[in-house]
């Protein structure tokens, strides 16, 4: 579903309109962003993304808001405790930009749940493009994203955070988590619980930068095949190739 790029001529986009090419504007508006996880990374990334354009979002998260989430999940307040984050996120993002098209799913995103919602792909009314935003909290859950991205021919914009550290990379169609993280990636241990709020903020910003780079050129982004590692204690970035 193509949308006129006139949607980006509104006053609210004036500060960045000229920084994006016509192709990038078109891709931003014609892409369905499938968001896995509305936690620390998801909140930061989405709060920025909806400011760039009136995007189309599908937000998947099975969890309800817990008090410890409030240190970094910037879309939520203490009044939201106990409520499903996917629905809260849609509500808050619509408040930031009422022109977005957003739907929340209070369940985990995997091939089975995605197929139930989208039994036949592509549909005539489907967006021209799809992109998967990996804001999940375990590599086991990430294994469930690959079949969806593969089916859609979509890139995966990955972020991961833990303690004082984080990483971002982009999996263009044809590459996999095993390429980036090793064949045993799905068995990697779950994240240690401690996390500071600036870590997901930095990594989500890198994810947004990658999304914008992909909108400019879908065949190559700075972090396609490259792992960018952030040390939030020493304020240091390193890049390592995995492709």
């Amino acid at each position: 579903m193509s949308r006129p790029t006139d949607a980006l001529r509104e006053e609210r986009y004036r500060r960045h309109y000229e920084l994006l090419s016509q192709d990038a504007r078109q891709r931003l508006l014609s892409t369905r962003f499938i968001v896995a996880g509305a936690g620390g990374l998801g909140c930061n990334l989405l709060a920025l993304l909806v400011r760039v354009a009136p995007v189309q979002l599908e937000i998947w998260d099975p969890a309800v808001l817990d008090a410890p989430d409030l240190n970094r999940q910037v879309l939520y307040t203490p009044q939201d405790l106990g409520q499903p984050k996917a629905r809260l996120a849609v509500e808050r993002l619509r408040a930031i930009n009422p022109a977005i098209q957003a739907v929340g799913h209070v369940q985990s995103l995997n091939a089975s749940s995605f197929s139930e919602l989208h039994p036949t792909l592509p549909q005539p009314t489907s967006p021209a493009h799809s992109a998967v935003l990996d804001c999940l909290d375990s590599f086991n859950a990430r294994a469930g994203l690959e079949p969806i991205a593969h089916k859609l021919g979509a890139p995966i914009f990955h972020g991961g955070v833990e303690l004082w550290y984080g990483q971002a990379t982009t999996l263009l169609p044809g590459s996999s988590y095993a390429d980036a993280f090793g064949a045993d990636f799905a068995g990697k241990p779950p994240a240690a619980k401690p996390i500071l709020p600036h870590i997901p903020a930095v990594i989500a910003s890198l994810q947004l930068a990658e999304i914008l780079a992909w909108c400019e050129n879908a065949d190559s982004t700075p972090l396609a095949g490259v792992l960018c590692v952030f040390d939030g204690r020493r304020h240091r970035f390193d890049q390592l190739r995995w492709d």
């Binding site: 996880g37 936690g39 620390g40 990374l41 998801g42 804001c135 999940l136 909290d137 375990s138 590599f139 972020g159 991961g160 955070v161 833990e162 303690l163 004082w164 550290y165 984080g166 990483q167 980036a180 993280f181 090793g182 045993d184 990636f185 990697k188 241990p189 779950p190 994240a191 240690a192 996390i195 997901p200 792992l227 590692v229 040390d231 020493r234 390193d238 890049q239 390592l240 190739r241 995995w242």
Partner: protein, 111 residues
Amino acid sequence: MSYVCLTDDDIALISCGGTDFIDNRGAPLQDERMTRVKYFGPLMELTGTDEEQLEIAFPITVAKLRVTLEHYHPALAGESFRIAVDAVMRDSDTTLSAAGEIACLPAFAGG
């Protein structure tokens, strides 16, 4: 393991616990026997350093290199991390024919 150079006015000290070879002008001194190894994330806490020079015999597979690193730092045993050489990730069955800068990276799972 440590080395001391015996000239009066030149080179100072050296050890393999995270200190570079330093000459009297403060510049790093290269030793072909030594390989630079960097640690990321929690591995820095486990090894007590973010970077060090270790003596590693090449050629060596990445899997054997990992065993060697665990020999220097037993706390690495059982930890999940990948190894990169000269900023390129390597699979465990890759044979490294010559020394390069080695990096040990855990993956951060959380969101």
